[in-house]
Point group: C2
Chain length 90, copies 2
DNA sequence: TTGACATGCAAGTAGCGACTTGCCTATGAT
DNA sequence: ATCATAGGCAAGTCGCTACTTGCATGTCAA
C-alpha cells in the first residue's frame, strides 16, 4: 500500500498515468513517443520501462501481453481511497 | 503541488499525519513521544522536525507559535483532490 | 532463416533524501 | 541571573532511487 505513495512521488510516473488516463492500452514505445511529443519529456526507453515496472508493482497499471507487444492500462483502484485515510471517509 | 506527493511518500510522515488527524495542535516533543508510544517509532527529535518541515512546505500542516512552543495541526486541503487528477472528478 | 522490431535483464553511476551529530538560540521558571 | 526546556541550524554520512549502458531474448515479416 505504501508502494502507491512511493510510485506517485515521481513526476515522470505521474505524467505516465496522465497519458494512460488519456489513452488506454498503450505499448512502451507509444508511451515513450507520446511523452516526448505531448509532455516534452525525453526519457530513455529503459527509464520509462522501469517506471512502468514501479507503477505495475504498485498496482496502478495493468498489463496485457499480445505477441511481442505489451499493452499498459491505468488501474484507478488504488487511487480511490488513498486520501480517505485522513479525510474521514473511511 | 508535486511536493504533496513527495511528502506523502515517506511512511514516517504519513504516520505523523495520522497522529495529527487523531489529536490536533501538538508540539514537536508531543509528536515525538506519541510516535514512540502509540506507533512504535523511535525517531530523533531532529528527524521528526525535518519531517514536519517537509509537511509544512507541502501545505499539509499548519503551524502556530506561542512563546517557546510551536503547535502543529493537520491541513487536509491539499489532500482533497490529489487523486481526482486520474479519477475524472475534476 | 535472416533481419528488424519490441521488450527484458543486469551492472554501474550520480544525485537526492532520510538521518545523524554537534552546537546554537530563545523562552520561561526559580 | 541561572538553568532547564523547546526548538533551530548546518554539515556530514549512508542508502535508496532514477537513470544510463550494454547486451540478451523473443516475436514477426520477408
Amino acid at each position: 500500500m505504501g508502494d502507491v505513495f512511493k510510485a506517485l512521488a515521481d513526476p515522470t510516473r505521474r505524467t505516465i498515468l496522465d497519458e494512460l488516463a488519456d489513452r488506454d492500452d498503450q505499448t512502451l514505445f507509444e508511451i515513450c513517443s507520446r511523452l516526448l511529443t505531448k509532455h516534452r519529456l525525453d526519457s530513455t526507453r529503459q527509464a520509462i520501462s522501469q517506471h512502468l515496472d514501479v507503477l505495475e508493482a504498485a498496482g496502478l497499471i495493468d498489463v496485457r501481453r499480445e505477441g511481442r507487444y505489451k499493452f499498459h492500462s491505468i488501474n484507478r483502484a488504488p487511487l480511490e481511497h488513498i486520501a480517505d485515510r485522513w479525510l474521514g471517509r473511511s
